[in-house]
């Protein structure tokens, strides 16, 4: 199980995957936006998206849980 957490304060611009999706290492899970920059958040392991904790438009803080990959 791998927890994917936010590295910075950001807005969730796009949610690319849904809970239950199979993902490969390096797949984009969500795209954040901070300071006029798009920051893709990538899966660091292959697996299934067990939990997806953010929705488009959310403001998230550094350290917030974005997704859990199992």
């Amino acid at each position: 199980m791998a927890e994917v957490r936010a590295e910075m304060v950001a807005n969730v611009w796009k949610v690319v995957v849904a809970a239950g999706d199979a993902v490969e290492d390096g797949d984009t899970l969500v795209i954040l936006e901070s300071m006029k920059m798009e920051i893709p958040v990538l899966a660091e392991d292959a697996g299934v998206v067990a939990q997806l904790k953010v929705a488009e438009g959310d403001v998230i803080q550094e350290g917030d849980l974005i997704a859990v990959i199992e």
Binding site: M8, V9, A10, S34, M35, K36, M37, I39
Partner: protein, 443 residues
């Protein structure tokens, strides 16, 4: 001369403009979003009006709110700074229609230069060299492939209406072209403006050198020297210097003359910048684009020429004649202090726990924040511009090393460690570098 100026901007540039406005004995009016209420520019203006929430679309980019603030405060002129409305011809026209002086070039000049395809064609007609590229907007991936084959790879793909490097990408083959085209199209749709894309021949190992121009009230266009902006990450500038260490006096003279022709071609008034790509080996250049506004890195030119460019903008907008001695002296370098990590350059907003700016001979800091402020994720990551001036480039580098080392900053992630690293990097120190320098430092 108008008696008051509203600054339709925020952060360091609002503060910078307020300094000159007040220095000229004029009244300064700031507008600010909820996220910026604690920033120094709000306090330092003679009057400050709240214009809405943090989201720029509902505050700094809300034309009605900005114009309403201008009417309420009864200002005589509006300075747009850079970004936001600075290159928006419709906003400029709305300001003028309201009977307020627009501190910038005419809406017509903004429009003609704002579309990069149109600007390229216009410059070619005015005898300014341009890179091989598309003369018509490219809207379909198939057209892009055909154009790239005609131009020859590698090609630069960019949005006709975009700025600040957003959506730009280099394609080396058909496969990477599809990706770059998709990225540019997405940026064009997202950041507004025209959906048109253009392709240009990409020059590897190029330097990015730009010429500061000033169109005077009487129609004369002056060139105030160049700035070398080749230290870039993600096609965005990090460090700028003048004079450029990579061009000969002969090339400089040709570039300055071409920049004057570019300004004359659109009847340019006020401060503007003609951006070029320089092939340092061949000592040749091509026109890249024109920015019809004050540039972030304008202090570099101010430090070598002694000209206050904001004051010049105000006087030109008021129709006054200028007696300028813009003979450059010495060497100036600007470092953009960004709220971003110094390795991958990802944003790092946060609360500023410690902030002590360096001081000393030849040091100038234009900053948007003080200790205790929070750098929020809503706007660009520029916190401050650390600028140095010295009699020679070597002296400027020494002063920069001391200034970077004594800048005490804690809280947001920041790129001061990158600036220190750059100042020891043999390529940068030698002056023989190009726009690929930062990528090479991080590969």
């Amino acid at each position: 001369m108008f008696d008051s100026v509203l600054i339709a901007n925020r952060g360091e540039i609002a503060r910078r403009i307020i300094r000159t406005v007040r220095g000229m004995g004029l009244r300064s009016v700031a507008v600010y979003s909820e996220a910026d209420a604690d920033l120094p520019f709000v306090r330092e203006a003679d009057q400050a009006l709240p214009i809405g929430p943090a989201n720029p679309a509902q505050s700094y980019l809300d034309q009605d709110k900005v114009l309403e603030a201008a009417r309420d405060s009864g200002v005589g002129a509006i300075h747009p700074g850079y970004g936001f409305f600075s290159e928006n011809a419709d906003f400029a026209q709305a300001v003028i229609d309201d009977g307020i002086v627009w501190i910038g070039p005419s809406p017509d000049a903004i429009r003609r230069m704002g579309d990069k395809i149109n600007a390229r064609n216009l410059m070619e007609a005015a005898g300014v060299p341009v890179a091989a590229g598309t003369r018509e907007p490219v809207t379909e991936p198939g057209e892009a492939v055909a154009a790239a084959e005609r131009i020859g790879y590698p090609v630069m793909v960019k949005t006709a209406g975009g700025g600040g490097g957003i959506g730009m990408g280099v394609a080396h083959d058909e496969e990477s072209l599809a990706k770059a085209f998709e990225q540019a199209s997405r940026a064009a749709a997202r950041f507004g403006g025209t959906p048109a894309i253009l392709l240009e021949r990409y020059i590897e190992r190029a330097r990015h050198v730009e010429v500061q121009i000033l169109g005077l009230a009487d129609g004369t266009v002056l060139a105030l020297g160049e700035r070398d902006c080749s230290v870039q990450r993600r096609h965005q500038k990090v460090v700028e210097e003048s004079p450029s260490p990579g061009i000969t006096p002969e090339l400089r003279a040709r570039m300055l003359a071409a920049a004057v022709r570019a300004g004359e071609a659109v009847g340019y008034r006020g401060a503007g910048t003609v951006e070029c790509l320089v092939d340092a080996d061949a000592q040749d250049f091509v026109f890249l684009e024109m920015n019809t506004r004050l540039q972030v890195e304008h202090p570099v030119t101010e430090l070598v020429t002694g000209v206050d460019l904001v004051e010049a903008q105000l006087r030109i907008a008021a129709g006054q004649d200028l007696a300028l001695d813009a003979t450059p002296t010495g060497h100036a370098i600007e470092f953009r202090v960004y709220a971003e990590d110094p390795k991958r350059f990802f944003p790092g907003p946060g609360k500023i726990a410690l902030w002590k700016e360096p001081t000393g001979e030849g040091v100038r800091v234009d900053s948007g924040y003080v200790e205790g402020n929070t750098v929020t994720p809503f706007y660009d990551p520029l916190m401050a511009k650390l600028c140095v001036h010295g009699a020679t480039r070597a002296e400027a580098l020494d002063r920069a090393r001391a200034a970077v080392a004594s800048f005490a900053l804690e809280g947001p992630k920041n790129n001061l460690p990158f600036c220190a690293e750059l100042l020891e990097h043999p390529e940068f120190v030698s002056g023989d570098y190009d726009t690929g320098l930062v990528s090479r430092m991080r590969s």
